[in-house]
């Protein structure tokens, strides 16, 4: 990527770039708002959304718990269908396999339908290095490729661009000024890509779901380009994360209900294609040769990890990005990795063995839980972010000053008397900075906070200072308990003790 924000080393610096870019923030807000409203309406209209989320979660939990079994079944079935199945442990291996196929076919050009795994592998650059032209054919991804950037959203890669910026990019490609009119711009891309489809030697796609029982791949798309990519070129390559599996076509029904509604608010995408192997004798079209590359690249590290295994349940709908109030303000590039938003903040460090380089993105969250609420398979991303922070501290990579602060925190909070004397001390100390009951100084730890806010001062008496007197007063004036309320309390107490209280389930 060539843009300034990715040269910045920390999430804070990268976010700073986004926060100062009004175009970017408005473009991201505009589209995420549209998508999350769409999802809200679609899930409400569905009627039993939470029950289906739970079904989806159970399917994913089961599949991942038995991933070795289903991967074997998938590979056997796909081979029986006539596809070549390759397993790649690392990104490098997956790239090497792809390049070998391209060289073996003496390919000059590859048409691609969007694949986040391909982004993970930085495959376009690798293909370019052996003289193979890779052309992205999803409209958004095509725009990003022209801009020489990376996707800033899992399903809307060009979400950070507005139509005027897009018109500029397309005009440069067209050699003439195109108006910022969606229909005209899409028409130009359509015409341009039609040539590319026809001359391509290889078609390359990702994979939304892989069906173990028949060795089939399922693609969800709205533009029809994935169908072109999978039928026109003579050779077809599917890149697939090893966790994309679901056991059966009946499980797909649940996923096909959850994915489009969560992603865009659609009941179903315009095209949903199931592909089982290369062209057969009676088929009118389709590739002569088909390769499926199943990629690990850090995924299997999550297997058996009680805090992170559920990450593999993700169906890449992007709903957590659209719901995230942090993503809304900083966009996807600020996260620094292939995957952005809440899922990216957890997935990127997890796939990269929790190395120190990715420590800071777990801090780019207020832990509001909007991601968890939006997730169609209920991945507890907010808890995972806390786990990442804890692992960093346990690995001894915490900030020294913060560690001292936390030691101080526990020393004070571990004992109510000490806590009370610190609050009293604070009342004396704050006299230096309080003006009219407020603190506005921007020194020390208050710098960031007070740049946007004022801080209230400690009142003369804390609650615990006042309680003895208040308690006397309350006892004097307290009402008598209504027998109905007394009954309710007794019933509640009984429920609590038998473990049936409403709080017991959590």
């Amino acid at each position: 990527m060539s843009t300034a924000e990715t040269k910045a080393q920390t999430v804070k610096e990268r976010a700073g770039y986004a926060l100062n870019n009004e175009f970017l923030r408005n473009a991201v807000k505009f589209t995420t708002e549209r998508l999350r409203l769409g999802k809200k309406l679609a899930s409400e209209e569905h009627g039993n959304w939470d029950a289906w989320r739970e079904r989806g979660r159970q399917i994913r939990l089961h599949t991942i718990a038995h991933l070795d079994y289903y991967l074997n079944e998938f590979a056997e079935q796909a081979r029986a269908n006539g596809a070549h199945v390759h397993f790649a442990e690392t990104a490098e291996e997956a790239v090497a396999i792809s390049l070998q196929i391209a060289e073996h076919k003496s390919a000059k050009s590859v048409v691609k339908s969007k694949s986040m795994v391909s982004e993970e592998l930085h495959l376009n650059k690798a293909l370019d290095s052996i003289g193979v032209e890779a052309v992205e054919t999803d409209l958004g991804e095509y725009i990003i490729q022209l801009a020489d950037e990376t996707p800033s959203h899992i399903i809307i890669p060009a979400i950070h661009k507005n139509r005027y910026q897009i018109a500029e990019l397309l005009s440069a490609e067209a050699g003439e000024a195109l108006p910022p009119d969606t229909a005209i711009m899409a028409g130009f891309v359509r015409m341009k890509l039609r040539e590319k489809f026809l001359e391509a030697d290889i078609g390359m796609t990702g994979c939304n779901f892989a069906i173990a029982e028949t060795g089939s791949m399922v693609l969800f798309e709205n533009e029809g380009n994935a169908r072109m990519v999978t039928t026109v070129p003579k050779t077809q390559i599917t890149l697939m994360g090893m966790e994309r599996i679901i056991p059966s076509w009946s499980d797909l029904e649940v996923m096909a209900t959850l994915l489009p509604r969560s992603a865009t608010g659609q009941k179903l995408t315009v095209y949903m294609s199931g592909i089982s192997g290369p062209k057969r004798e009676l088929d009118a079209d389709g590739p002569d040769e088909m390769h499926i590359i199943i990629i690990d690249n850090g995924r299997s590290l999550q297997l058996g990890d009680p805090e992170f295994q559920e990450l593999l349940n993700c169906i890449r709908c992007g709903a957590c990005l659209n719901a995230c109030p942090v993503y809304r303000h900083i966009g996807g590039h600020a996260y620094g990795g292939t995957y952005s938003g809440p899922i990216g903040a957890v997935l990127t460090p997890a796939l990269n063995k929790n190395v120190a380089e990715w420590d800071d993105i777990a801090n780019a969250s207020s832990l509001c839980g909007a991601c968890y609420e939006a997730c169609p398979v209920k991945i507890p991303l907010h808890d995972m972010l806390v786990s990442l922070r804890r692992r960093k501290i346990e690995a001894g990579r915490g900030d020294k000053l913060e560690a001292m602060g936390m030691k101080g925190f526990s020393a004070v909070m571990g004992n109510a008397k000490r806590y009370r004397s610190v609050v009293s001390l604070g009342k004396w100390g704050q006299k230096l900075v309080v003006r009219g009951g407020e603190i506005r100084t921007r020194i020390g730890p208050l710098k960031g906070w007070n740049s946007y806010r004022v801080t209230p001062s400690l009142p003369k008496h804390s609650f615990r200072d006042r309680w003895p007197e208040m308690e006397q007063d309350i006892r004097r004036t307290s009402g008598t308990m209504d027998p109905v309320i007394a009954d309710r309390l007794r019933e509640r107490l009984r429920m609590q003790k038998s473990g049936k209280g409403e709080n017991a389930h959590d």
Binding site: R453, N503, D506
Partner: protein, 241 residues
Amino acid sequence: MFVTCLSDALFPRVAESMARLLARYGVQLEFPEIQTCCGQPAYNSGYWEEARISARTILDAFDDSDFVVSPSGSCTYMIHHYPDLFKDDPVYLDKAKALQSKCYEFTQFLVDVLGVTDVGAVYPHKVTYHPSCHGSRLLGVKDEPMKLLSHVKGLELVPLPFAEDCCGFGGTFAVKMADISGAMVTEKSDHVLETEASVLVGLDMACLMNIAGNLRHRGEKVQVKHLAELLYEGVSVHEHS
């Protein structure tokens, strides 16, 4: 009463309003003084050992209480993390499970446990409500405050646009990622101002301190209150007039 360190030290009127409201229904209140902080700042930052030291004061404080009530959804939800936090400590694990089954956020206790939806308050003002994330999303407190507000006489409730969006507080997030947090709270305040309400009400003083701090910083006059304060004020005015 689990009053929370924030309400104890900075916003004693919130805990007092909660106490005085509950006392009206004959609830016998205690304030075990050994309680300090739920430990959330340390827990969320990854310092679980430090969080445990602070959390033990909460676990020790309420052994003898039948019900534990708190004026914060976020601090109440923190108690739900205790069984995980103390999973390797059998003594405190038992205490954690016991506390989890008997702790309630203020409106949960008032509405769901006591069955009170009309406290008899009068509050003739235009009010908007911010549902704090941990209370509404994770603890599931959504209808309770609405029921209470809908019964306040004279109160005009105006919906807050994008109400469910986080205000940007997030504990240490507001310090570590000050500019992102600043952008979030600025947008939240914009939405509050859009409603033209004279009062913003909520259930978590941390979030309200954040939003109020930004509104004051901008010189805005909107009052910011905890729902317990609003209700108690509404009851007191009513009775003294």
